[in-house]
Amino acid sequence: MPPSQAMLNTQSPGPPDEKVKRHTISILVQNKFGAFNRIAGMFAAKGYNIDSLSVGPTEDEGVSRMTIVARGDDQIIEQITKQLNKLIDIVKVIDLTFESFVDRELVLVKVHATNDSRPEIMQIAEIFRAKVVDISPRTLTLEATGSQQKVDAIIKMLKPFSIKEMARTGRVALKREFQGEV
């Protein structure tokens, strides 16, 4: 299996295992040479499954935030957190699954469109509050944002029209601050 496939195993999990859960792990990492490679390489070397991985700058220009959605039973997730914490360039690791958090994902979908199907696609876009960002005689490109479930749902709705290309960002997430207990 090529490493990229081992790392980003997006296949649906095999036989349902109740112990295996999806965890959203937020990582703050110093912007150092090879730091992302270190993290991605650790997942590959230890054989952990990643559903999605996104990375981008933060308010601190020396630090990036990586959001990883990983699957595993409690022991594997505990090991993932520990192994991440062992990496020197990592500033902080938070398993958001144990917290209340907001998460979003963005998707761009280029879908096949004819004069007949275009209105229907646009209707779906409206329901999901997606935007049309590009149009051609044969295609429509939509931009949708939301939780992973919402993104999954719009993709499911668009599938019958034939999706030509698609790009998902993977989940980004932040811990909720105000939780109403004050």
């Binding site: 110093q30 040479f33 090879g34 490679n37 090991q79 520990k82 020197i88 500033v91």
Partner: protein, 607 residues
């Protein structure tokens, strides 16, 4: 330093003067008190080597292969507790260090490996002798760096030494582009270093320690399972005190050997695949297992689900990720072994373990370590004799395979840092260069390298380095003409189909002599003790001995991979195949008991 001091200069600062990266490198190593550097020069490090030319504070050892340099640094680190330092050039120089680095990673050995690199502007160009060594070694180092600016150099070296030696030690690689080492800047060696997310926990959690103490105080069949972390933490004294206070039997892993004296009645020797029968039984039937600086390796546990299945488990380790990685434990304590054991010692009471020790004593009587002895030399006998002659006062550096297990079983290690071997990675060719490194750090004890005929030939080029420096190493090759451990597995589990395990060897004695080394050969049991004594008495440089041993012999006891004590195979009784030569007999050795010494070859008084 022989160089003239400049105004305002101090050992850790260049004052107002600008220094090249190469000079800064040398000055940083001096600031880190590096005594010895194992290396091999090349195009990318020629500037650094120029800066080393006039330096007398650091001894540079030119090995004959970069793998030899890395293992030498490991041997030095294991013998002294100080970090081993390596300097090699880019490309092949760097890639040749990979095996040693991986070995150090597996066995938690502090190494700092400096590799030359092509100039920054050529990186990624497939330049001559270019290799992405930072990329290559990322998964096998604790951390690694590419220095992109000379102003980062001193800080990077400081961090590298700090990371390599603190917490759970390990290898750190620093890649040094040629042009960076020629750039100039002010030199100021940092006094201390802080890293945002790297603060190894030393003190164990007080509540966890209390919980562990309560668990231990309620035990009736406790076992201490002691790993290499105890030696890394210099905690052999605390461990011994704890075992004796509790009256708790002790078994050690391969790397734990030496942390507890094996002539102590509580000693059970090594556990695991080739551990003693009684240590494996004791671990299987104990009610509280106290794992100290050990990591529940598969060679120790066999089938993890059945490993000490009934026991409550306490696990002391400095590495949080070692806890509950393979075996779920009841009371984890993250911390430095020495600090945790000191705290624990205060809280535990002497236990009533008389019955438990009696049970173990009975196992010792029924299933001692045994081997067949006769006219043909047995490796076990060589090692047992060596242990007796040196009385354990020697640093024994083994290679990988059957002789390694026999050394672990029969030498009776009793002092920390006297047993050096490649455990985790199992690197053949480790012993000779590692022994060489050990002798650069330790002259208080004789250093003995033991290899098989296979492993010896994997790094035998270091004979040249050893002879060049007239290093007082005893180099023992146990020659059975086979890759013995693979042959043993083929015999036991692959229907005796000996596929590519027989070696056609050179004349080892003449080979050693060609290097300029005194060399002996023993071919019969009665010669063993004489030649051992001769070798141990040899003080003028290295001495080489080839022991031609029985071609086919197996390491027992053995728990086949992934299995349990139920499948443990003990040494077969005398001649089950009826092919035993007349005069052969079974020698027995027990841990923690006065040993039954065989006097097969009387020692001539003038030997």
């Amino acid at each position: 330093m022989t160089r003239q001091a400049h105004e305002g200069e101090s050992p850790a600062s260049s004052g107002g003067r600008l220094m090249t990266g190469a000079e800064i490198f040398v000055r940083s190593l001096i600031a880190e008190n590096v005594e010895v550097l194992f290396g091999y020069p090349g195009g990318a490090t020629i500037g650094v080597y120029d800066a080393l030319h006039d330096i007398s504070d650091i001894k540079h050892v030119l090995t004959r292969h970069e793998q030899g340099a890395t293992h030498a640094a490991e041997g030095y680190a294991k013998a002294t507790g100080k970090p081993g330092v390596v300097l090699v050039t880019s490309g092949p120089g760097a890639t040749n260090t990979v095996t040693g680095i991986a070995d150090a990673m597996m066995d938690s050995i502090p190494l700092v490996v400096f590799t030359g690199q092509v100039p920054l502007r050529l990186i990624g160009n497939d330049a001559f002798q270019e290799a992405d060594i930072v990329g290559i070694t990322r998964p096998i180092t604790k951390h690694n760096y590419l220095v992109r600016d000379v102003r980062e150099l001193a800080q990077t070296i400081k961090e590298a030494f700090y990371i390599a030696t603190s917490g759970r030690p390990g290898p750190v690689l620093v890649d040094l582009p040629k042009d960076v080492m020629a750039q100039k800047t002010h030199f100021e060696y940092p006094g201390s270093v802080t890293l945002q997310n790297y603060n190894p926990i030393l003190e164990g959690n007080v509540r966890q320690i209390k919980k562990a103490a309560d668990m231990i105080n309620a035990a009736s069949r406790p076992v201490l399972y002691v790993g290499g972390g105890t030696i890394l933490s210099n905690a052999a004294a605390e461990l011994t005190a704890l075992a004796r206070k509790l009256g708790c039997p002790v078994t050690t892993t391969l790397h734990g050997l030496g942390s507890f004296p094996e002539n102590d009645p509580l000693a059970m020797g090594m556990l695991g695949m080739h551990g003693t029968w009684y240590s494996n039984m004791a671990v299987h039937f104990c009610d509280v297992l106290i794992a100290v600086g050990a990591r529940f390796d598969d060679r120790v546990t066999g089938n993890v689900d059945a490993f000490a299945a009934e026991a409550k488990k306490i696990h002391i380790d400095i590495d949080p990720s070692a806890i509950s990685k393979n075996v779920k434990v009841d009371v984890p304590i993250v911390g430095d072994v020495k600090s945790v054991l000191t705290a624990l010692l205060e809280l535990v009471n002497p236990l009533e373990t008389k019955d438990w020790l009696k049970t173990i004593e009975a196992w010792k009587d029924e299933h001692p370590l045994r081997y067949r002895n006769g006219e043909e030399i047995r490796a076990q006998y060589v090692i047992q004799k060596l242990g007796e002659i040196t009385e354990g006062n020697a640093i024994v550096v083994t290679d990988v395979g059957q002789h390694q297990m026999w050394a672990a079983q029969f030498f009776n290690f009793s002092h920390p840092r006297t047993h050096i071997t490649s455990g985790g990675l199992g690197t053949m060719g480790f012993s000779l260069p590692a022994a060489m490194g050990a002798v650069f750090g330790r002259r208080d004890l004789p250093v003995i390298s033991i290899s098989g005929d296979g492993g010896f030939q994997m790094n035998s080029q270091e004979m040249a380095t050893i002879v060049q420096h007239r290093l007082p190493i005893k180099i023992f090759v146990i020659n059975n003409g086979f890759l013995g451990m693979v042959r043993q597995w083929q015999e036991l589990f692959w229907r005796r189909r000996y596929s590519h395990v027989e070696l056609a060897n050179p004349d080892f004695v003449r080979l050693a002599e060609a290097y300029g080394c005194t060399a002996y050969r023993a071919t019969r049991t009665e010669e063993v003790e004489v030649v051992l004594r001769k070798a141990m008495a040899h003080t003028d440089g290295p001495v080489f001995v080839e022991f031609v041993v029985a071609k086919e012999d197996n390491v027992y006891p053995m728990i086949p991979a992934g299995q349990t004590v139920n499948e443990m195979i003990d040494t077969p009784d005398p001649a089950p195949d009826g092919k035993q030569p007349a005069g052969d007999r079974i020698e027995t050795v027990e841990k923690g008991k006065a040993r039954k010494v065989s006097v097969h070859a009387p020692v001539p008084s003038n030997a």
